[in-house]
Each structure stands twice: as C-alpha cells, then as structure tokens.
C-alpha cells in the first residue's frame, strides 16, 4: 500500500481548523477580518468567532504564513505569503489524499468527484 501522509503539515491541522480556512480564503486575494469571516462562512459553512479568527491570524502571522498589507489600520487586510501558499498546498494535498483514500475504501470512487465539488458544512464551534 502506498504510504500516505499521517497528518496535515505541522501546525495547520485538520481541514476545518481556522488556520486552513483562513489560508484558503486568502488564496483568492487579500481580505480584512470581517471579509474573511464572511468568505469562510460562504465557502465552508463555518462561522469563526472574532476571538478564534484573530487568534489564528496572530499565529499565522507569527509563522510568516500571512502578512498585513497597508491600508486602514483598524480594518487591516492580510495576504498569503509564499510560505503560506506552500503550507496550504501541502495541506490541500494531504486532505485530498485522505479524501481519495476514504472514497476508495467506501467504494465511492465515482461519487467522490461529485462530493468534492460540493463541500458539506463542517460546523465550527466558536
């Protein structure tokens, strides 16, 4: 059997973790806090509370995966860095690998592609 990654890249965690959601949102362009919340709600069905969001933003910035851009000091937009893109790419590969394995074991090979296009809401506790 092919060796599969045992977990997502260090620190990013599971696919519904705030850091993965934030990086995914920023992959399509810069956003400030409120815009991030709304975007994540729209694509993942997950509502990140303000405390959770800014806790994750501060850690991502510490690790150099995102960075603030100029503009309004109170509604400061963030963008993903090259390291952030690399980390997100790794995380997405790991998730895809897991999803493929799950679909294979469930015999959902054909269905997996359809399911993959319509992510179900994951439900994030604030």
């Amino acid at each position: 059997m092919a060796t599969k990654p045992s977990s997502a890249p260090r620190g990013l965690g599971r696919n519904n973790e705030p850091s993965v959601l934030i990086l995914t949102s920023l992959a399509s362009g810069t956003k400030h806090g409120y815009a991030l919340t709304k975007d994540i709600e729209a694509f993942a069905g997950v509502t990140l509370g303000p405390g959770t969001l800014y806790g994750a933003i501060s850690r991502l910035e510490e690790r150099g995966l995102i960075e603030p851009t100029g503009g309004d000091e109170r509604r400061r937009p963030y963008r993903i860095t090259a390291s952030g893109l690399a980390a997100l790419t790794e995380a997405v590969r790991a998730m895809r690998s897991l999803a493929d394995e799950g679909a294979l074991r469930l015999g959902l090979g054909a269905l997996a592609r359809v399911v993959g296009a319509d992510p179900a809401p994951i439900g994030w506790a604030r």
């Binding site: 260090r10 620190g11 400030h32 806090g33 409120y34 919340t37 509370g49 303000p50 405390g51 959770t52 969001l53 800014y54 806790g55 933003i57 501060s58 850690r59 510490e62 690790r63 000091e73 109170r74 509604r75 400061r76 604030r126």
Partner: protein
C-alpha cells in the same frame, strides 16, 4: 456606554502586547459583526477563552513559536508561583496544627509525626532551593541593571520591597503588642487582637503575591545561559517533588489525627467539624491547586529539555 467602549471592554482581558498589535483590528471586527446588537453570552465566553489562550501563550507555556529556552523558563516560573501557594498553605497548616501532639495519645503519634516532619523537612528544603535559585539569578539581574534596563522592572521590584517593609513593620508591631497580652487575650478574650492578626495574615499573603509577581517580572527579562536555565529547571522539578511530599505529609497527618484525635481538629476557633476544619480545607485546596500547576510547569520544563536534547548535535 458607547458601542466602541463596549468592544474595547471585551478585549481588555487580552495581554497588553497582543492588544497593542491586534486590539484595534479585533475591536473593528466586533463592531462590524455585532454593530448595535447585543453580544450573545456564548460569544462573550468565547472571547474570554480566546483572551485566556493568548495570556497563556504570552507566558511562554504554550505556543508553537515559543523557543525551548523560553518554555523552560516559563515552566520554572509556574513552579515558583505554585510554591507561593504552598507557602501560604504551609503557614495555615503550621498555625492550625500547633500543639497537636499534646492532644494526641502517645501511642498514636508516630504516623502523624512522620507526616508532620515530612512537611517541615520538605518545606525547609523548598526554601533552600528557592534561595539558591535566587542566587543563580543574581548575576543575570546585575547584568540587566548594568544594561540600563532597571526601568523595565522597577515598578514590580519596588512594590515587592515596599510590601516587604510593610510586613516587617506590621510584624514588629504585632509581636510587640502580643508580648503585653496573656495567652487568653491572644486566643479568645480579645477580639481586637484576632482582627489585627487576621489583617496581618492578609498583608503577608499580599506581600508574598507581590514578591512573586516581582520575581516573575524580573526573571522573564533576565538573559540566562542555557546552563543556568537547566539548573533552574532542575530546581523547579525538585521543588515540585517537595510539594508532592508536603501534600502527602499533610494528608497523612490530617487523616491519622482525624481518626485518633478528632477533638483536636474540632477544637479551633474557626473549626466547625471534627474532620474537615475550614483552615485545613483551605490549606489542602491551595496545595492541590499549587501541585496541579507545578506539575503543568514541570511537564513544560521536561518537554522543553527533551526537545533541546533531541536537537543537540
């Protein structure tokens, strides 16, 4: 209260450094999210939890970007704070257990005496360890002052010194007064003395807390070599073991005296129960909380030491 004030209040629990960087942005996000609407209790609690997480990260006990040296230092400081709880608990225990042997039948004294002496010896050893740790840190403190960073620690250090002076003066006063009183005046007949003694106890606890805050503020800014940090970490681990010994000794003494001389536990002025007197409950509670925190600190120290050993060439 204006809308902005309400959001500012919500983020006040976050550590100052974090607020300076993200406070305005978080307040703006709260404003955009809730506007003039009431903030649900669940969301308030979530913010309090997030603020607590940031506080713990600020101590260095958690956080993936915290260096191993900082983690070792944070763990050791948590053990020091736990020791302060044990000092308070130990003082309560010592006061409560005065003359216990006179109330206990001779043939039943051996086991509680073992427990009592374990508390005394472990307490004395803990004091020695803390004093040696202070000695290890003194050269780094002198370097900090020479670097011109005295202003960064002046406030907590002066507060600790002032509280020390207040305790010394209060202790002198209360000792002088008690010399003029008979034993009955001190224990029963003079309620004023009891109030003063209780106030003195509160002042001593406040002084201990201030001294601990001062020590932590200074220790977080000291430039310590890895060797010094390892020595201090080893002392912290030993201190945790001594705290465990103190707790075991106290519980042993308590259980045996409750079985063989319950009238002693129920005889104090504050006691209402023969086996669960309030002063011992408070002391025991402080010890359990202190030992729990010390174990967390020790785990932090041990984890950091293990990581350092693994990454060493």
């Amino acid at each position: 209260m204006s809308g902005a004030d309400r959001f500012e209040r919500m983020i006040r629990w976050y550590p100052a450094g974090w607020r300076a960087r993200y406070g305005d942005e978080l307040a703006a996000l709260l404003e955009d999210t809730y506007g003039a609407a009431p903030i649900p209790l669940r969301d308030r609690l979530a913010m309090a939890k997030a603020g607590s997480v940031e506080r713990i990260r600020a101590t260095g006990l958690r956080g993936e970007t915290t260096g191993q040296d900082d983690r070792m230092r944070a763990g050791s400081l948590l053990v020091l704070c736990s020791w302060t709880l044990f000092v308070v608990a130990g003082a309560l225990f010592a006061k409560f257990s005065e003359h216990w042997d006179a109330a206990t039948p001779l043939q039943d004294r051996r086991l509680p005496m073992d427990g009592y002496q374990a508390v005394q010896w472990a307490g004395a050893a803990g004091v020695v360890i803390v004093l040696v740790a202070v000695g290890v840190a003194v050269p780094a403190f002198i370097r900090l002052v020479r670097r011109g960073e005295w202003s960064t620690v002046r406030r907590p250090v002066l507060a600790a010194v002032m509280m020390g002076v207040v305790v010394a003066a209060a202790t002198t006063g209360i000792v002088e007064w008690s010399h003029h009183l008979g034993p009955n005046d001190r224990t029963r007949a003079l309620p004023g003395f009891r109030v003063v003694a209780l106030t003195w106890g509160v002042v001593v606890v406040a002084a201990l807390a201030t001294a601990t805050v001062g020590a932590v503020s200074v220790a977080r800014r000291l430039e310590l070599s890895r060797r010094s940090l390892r020595v201090l970490a080893a002392m912290a681990v030993t201190l945790t073991a001594l705290m465990a010994a103190i707790l075991v000794g106290t519980v042993t003494w308590w259980v045996v005296v409750a079985l063989d001389a319950p009238q002693f536990l129920g005889s104090g002025a504050w006691s209402t129960s023969n086996v669960l007197p309030p002063p011992l409950l408070v002391a025991g509670g402080l010890m359990v909380i202190g030992l729990g925190a010390a174990i967390v600190g020790t785990a932090c120290v041990a984890g950091a030491a293990r990581t350092v050993n693994q990454s060493a060439p």
